[in-house]
C-alpha cells in the first residue's frame, strides 16, 4: 500500500530515475537495436520484399520479383534513397553496389520479360544465390554485424563461417583491448598504492599539497595531457634530448607511436582514479590495528599482508575497476600516441561511425565491448577477494 511518505520518496527519486532512463537506458537499447536492425531492403524495396517472400526459394523467383526490383531501384535512385540499400547489400557481398546502380541507371533498357532483359544486362541477376541473399535480408533483424564483429561471416548459401583470413581483425582487437586495459590497471594500482599510502600518512597541510598535485592533472583535459606526452616523447622531443645529453643513447629512440607511449600516457591519465578511492579508504583505517599486530609480534611484511592490505582491498578493487572500465573505452590516447597496431576497439567504433557511416557495425562492436567488459567484471567479482559490491567505497 502506498503511503504519503512513499509517494514523496518516489517524487524525490523521479528526476534521477528519468535521467538514468533518458541518458543511459534508452541510448543503450537504441545501440543494441542498431546492432541487429535490418531495415534497408524492406524500406527501399517494399514490392520486391513481398515478391521474394512469396517465392519458394527454389531456382529463380518469378518475373514479378524482377519487375519490382527494376522499378524500385530506378525510383530509389531518382529519389536519392538508393545509397543506404546499396551500401548495406555491398556489405553483404562486395560488388553488389555496382550491380544495383547499374540496374537503376538502365531502367529504359529493361522491360518485359523482365527476367531475360535483366540477365542480359548483367548475368548476376540469373544467380539464385543473389536472390536468396536479397530474400534473407527482407527479415527485420540481421546477425551479420554481430558475426562480422567476431570475425565470422555469412556465406553465399546462408551458413555461418569463419571470415577469410585477410579480413580477420576483431578477435585479436578485443584481446588487445583487454590486454592493454589489464596492464594499465596493474600499473596504476602498483604506482598508485604507495602514493595513496604516503599521502594518507602526511600531516594535513602536506596532504593537501600532495592531493593538489594529484588533482590538478586530473582536472586538466585528457586531450591536453595526451598531447603533452606526444610532445615529450617525440623523436626530437625533451625526453630524447635528455637521454642523449646524458649519453644514455647515441641516436633518438622511437617512443612515439609505440605501445610504450600508450602505456605511459594511459597510466598517467588514469592514475588519479585509483589514488583517490585508495586514499579515502586508507584515511579511514585506524592505526591502532597495525600497532596491535606489531605488539603481537608480526613482522612488517606480515602486518602489511595480513592486516593492512586486506583492509585496503575495497579501495584497490574500486580503483582498479574504475581504471579498467575507463581504459577499455579509451580512444583519444591510443589514437594520438599509438601506432596502428596499438589501437583498441573504440578506434574501430569511431571508424565505422565517422568514416564509413556503418552504424550497424559500430553498434555491434559497442555492444560486444559492453558485454565482454560486463562478463569480465562479474568474473573478477567472483575471483578477487574482497570484491563485493557492498565494499565499493569511493
Amino acid at each position: 500500500m502506498m503511503t504519503r511518505n512513499n509517494l514523496f520518496a518516489g517524487a524525490l527519486v523521479a528526476p534521477l530515475f528519468l535521467l538514468v532512463v533518458a541518458s543511459f537506458i534508452v541510448p543503450l537499447l537504441i545501440t543494441l537495436y542498431t546492432a541487429v536492425n535490418n531495415p534497408e531492403v524492406r524500406a527501399t524495396l517494399p514490392h520486391t520484399t513481398a515478391a521474394v517472400r512469396a517465392w519458394d526459394g527454389v531456382g529463380l523467383p518469378p518475373d514479378d520479383a524482377f519487375a519490382a526490383i527494376a522499378r524500385e531501384l530506378a525510383e530509389a535512385q531518382e529519389a536519392q534513397a538508393i545509397g543506404q540499400l546499396s551500401r548495406r547489400l555491398n556489405f553483404e557481398q562486395t560488388g553488389l553496389r555496382a550491380l544495383l546502380l547499374k540496374t537503376a541507371r538502365a531502367k529504359d533498357r529493361l522491360g518485359p520479360p523482365w527476367r531475360d532483359t535483366m540477365i542480359e544486362l548483367d548475368p548476376r541477376w540469373g544467380d539464385p544465390e543473389l536472390w536468396q541473399l536479397i530474400r534473407r535480408n527482407t527479415s527485420t533483424l540481421t546477425p551479420l554485424f554481430m558475426l562480422r564483429s567476431l570475425d565470422f561471416t555469412i556465406t553465399t548459401d546462408g551458413s555461418i563461417a569463419q571470415a577469410p583470413k585477410e579480413d580477420t581483425v576483431f578477435r585479436s582487437l578485443f584481446v588487445r583491448t583487454f590486454e592493454i586495459s589489464f596492464w594499465v590497471t596493474v600499473l596504476c594500482v602498483l604506482l598508485g598504492y604507495p602514493v595513496a599510502y604516503t599521502i594518507s600518512t602526511l600531516s594535513q597541510r602536506w596532504a593537501n599539497i600532495a592531493m593538489a598535485l594529484v588533482l590538478v592533472p586530473f582536472w586538466t583535459s585528457i586531450l591536453v595531457r595526451t598531447t603533452a606526452w606526444f610532445i615529450l616523447l617525440q623523436r626530437e622531443g625533451p625526453v630524447n634530448a635528455l637521454l642523449q645529453a646524458m649519453h644514455i643513447t647515441d641516436a633518438p629512440i622511437t617512443m612515439i607511436f609505440t605501445r610504450f607511449a600508450v602505456y605511459v600516457a594511459m597510466v598517467h591519465v588514469l592514475l588519479p582514479f585509483v589514488i583517490l578511492p585508495l586514499y579515502s579508504v586508507m584515511k579511514g583505517i585506524d592505526p591502532v590495528y597495525m600497532r596491535a599486530a606489531a605488539s603481537l609480534g608480526a613482522p612488517v611484511w606480515k602486518r602489511f599482508l595480513r592486516v593492512y592490505l586486506p583492509m585496503t582491498m575495497p579501495g584497490v578493487t574500486a580503483g582498479a575497476l574504475m581504471v579498467f572500465m575507463l581504459a577499455v573505452g579509451f580512444y583519444i590516447t591510443p589514437a594520438l600516441v599509438g601506432g596502428p597496431d596499438d589501437q583498441m576497439v573504440s578506434h574501430f567504433i569511431a571508424f565505422y561511425t565517422n568514416n564509413t557511416i556503418n552504424w550497424g557495425m559500430a553498434a555491434a562492436l559497442a555492444t560486444l565491448l559492453l558485454l565482454a567488459t560486463g562478463i569480465l567484471v562479474v568474473m573478477a567479482r567472483l575471483i578477487v577477494p574482497g570484491f563485493r559490491a557492498g565494499n565499493l567505497k569511493l
Binding site: Q80, R87, N90, T168, L173, R235, F257, F351, N354, T356
Partner: protein, 347 residues
C-alpha cells in the same frame, strides 16, 4: 555558495535560455562549412563575405573535418544547420545517393564554366587538390623522385610517411610495384591486385609513419621525424613560401577535386545555390588567388596565365603528370578496402 550568487547564476541562465530561444526563431544566416585552414581563412574574405557584400545576405562559416557522420545525423533529425558545404568527391557521390545533398540546380549554377569532371548530380567543383612525394632537400640531396624509389630502403634509408587509409596509399603501393598509372584501378579492383598492394606495403611497413590529418606530413618532415612523406601539395607550396626547401615532384602527383554542395533540407537551399554560382565564378576566384594559391575548378580561372605564374603549385598545370583519384572506384570499393586496410594496418 551564497544565496545572491545562486540567484545571479539562475538569472543568467534564464536570460541565456531566452536569448538562445529567440535566436532559433529568427531566420538563420547562410552557413557555409569547409575544411578550415588557410584556404577557408582567405576564402572567407574573397568568397563568402564577397558574396555577402554583393547580395546583402549575411554569411557565416564553420569548419568540419570531412567526416560525414554529423551531416547525416543532421539530415536524419531534420535539424539542418549547415547550408553550403565543401565535400570530397567520394563523399559527394555517396551523400547524393543517400539523399544528404540537394541535387544541383543547373538553372542557377552555370554548368559549362567548370573543368571537365568538375560537376556531378549534387556538386559543383570548388578546388583541385593533390598529394605528392616530398622531402627536405637541405638534409637529403638526391631523394627518391618516383614511387619505386621510395620503396628502395637501401639507397634511401629512413622513415616514410603515408596516409593512414587505403585511398592514395594503395594506388601508390601499386605504382611502386611497377603498375602503370592508367592500369592502377583495373588492378586494384581485383582481389589479387589488392593483395599485391598490401604485400608491397608490407615490404616497408616498419619504416612507415602514418599520418591522419593533412598538417602532419609537413610537420613530420620539418621536424625530422621522417625523411620522406607523401602529403598535400598545397601545404608543401606553403612550407616553401615559408623558407623550406621541399622539391615538388609532379610525377608523383595524385589529385582529385573538392566540390560545393547544398545540404538536403536546408531552409536556405535556394540562397545556397545562388551562392555556389557566385563563388565558383572566375572573378571572385581570381580575387582569392591574390592572397591564397588556389587551383580552382573553374576552367577560365584555371587557364589564367597570371594565376599559373603566381601559383607554382597550381594543379591544373600538372594534371597530365598525375593520377586522377578515381571517385567511382572509391565509392564502390571504399568501405570494403577501408575495412581490409584497417585489418592489415592494425595487425
Amino acid at each position: 555558495m551564497h544565496q545572491s550568487k545562486l540567484k545571479s547564476i539562475a538569472m543568467t541562465s534564464l536570460v541565456t535560455a531566452a536569448l538562445v530561444g529567440a535566436n532559433a526563431v529568427a531566420a538563420r544566416d547562410l552557413m557555409v562549412v569547409g575544411f578550415g585552414g588557410g584556404f577557408q581563412d582567405n576564402a572567407r574574405t574573397a568568397l563568402f563575405q564577397g558574396y555577402a557584400k554583393a547580395t546583402n545576405q549575411k554569411v557565416l562559416d564553420d569548419v568540419y573535418n570531412g567526416e560525414m557522420a554529423k551531416v547525416y545525423s543532421m539530415v536524419k533529425a531534420g535539424d539542418v544547420t549547415y547550408d553550403v558545404i565543401m565535400v570530397e568527391a567520394p563523399e559527394l557521390v555517396r551523400g547524393c545517393e543517400d539523399g544528404v545533398f540537394e541535387k544541383m540546380d543547373w538553372s542557377v549554377v552555370k554548368k559549362d564554366k567548370f573543368i571537365p569532371g568538375g560537376t556531378s548530380v549534387c556538386g559543383a567543383g570548388a578546388v583541385l587538390w593533390g598529394v605528392s612525394l616530398f622531402y627536405d632537400s637541405t638534409k637529403i640531396k638526391d631523394g627518391p623522385d618516383t614511387y619505386p624509389k621510395l620503396w628502395d630502403l637501401k639507397t634511401f634509408p629512413g622513415k616514410r610517411s603515408l596516409r593512414f587509409g587505403p585511398k592514395m596509399t594503395m594506388e601508390i603501393a601499386l605504382m611502386a610495384d611497377g603498375v602503370a598509372p592508367a592500369d592502377v584501378y583495373k588492378v586494384l579492383a581485383t582481389p589479387a591486385g589488392q593483395k599485391r598492394a598490401f604485400d608491397k606495403l608490407d615490404q616497408i611497413k616498419p619504416q612507415i609513419v602514418w599520418w591522419k590529418s593533412g598538417t602532419q606530413p609537413v610537420q613530420l618532415v620539418g621536424s625530422g621525424e621522417v625523411a620522406y612523406a607523401v602529403g598535400y601539395t598545397g601545404r608543401v607550396v606553403r612550407a616553401n613560401e615559408g623558407g623550406a626547401k621541399y622539391p615538388l615532384l609532379w610525377k608523383t602527383l595524385l589529385y582529385s577535386v573538392d566540390s560545393w554542395a547544398v545540404v538536403k533540407g536546408s531552409p536556405n537551399a535556394k540562397e545556397g545555390m545562388k551562392m555556389i554560382e557566385w563563388i565558383t565564378d572566375s572573378k571572385p576566384l581570381l580575387a582569392l588567388a591574390e592572397t591564397w594559391a588556389v587551383s580552382p575548378a573553374n576552367a577560365e580561372a584555371a587557364a589564367n596565365p597570371k594565376l599559373r605564374e603566381k601559383n607554382p603549385g597550381m594543379l591544373s598545370a600538372h594534371v597530365n603528370d598525375g593520377l586522377f583519384i578515381n571517385t567511382e572506384f572509391w565509392v564502390a570499393n571504399g568501405d570494403d578496402l577501408e575495412a581490409k586496410f584497417n585489418a592489415w594496418a592494425t595487425k
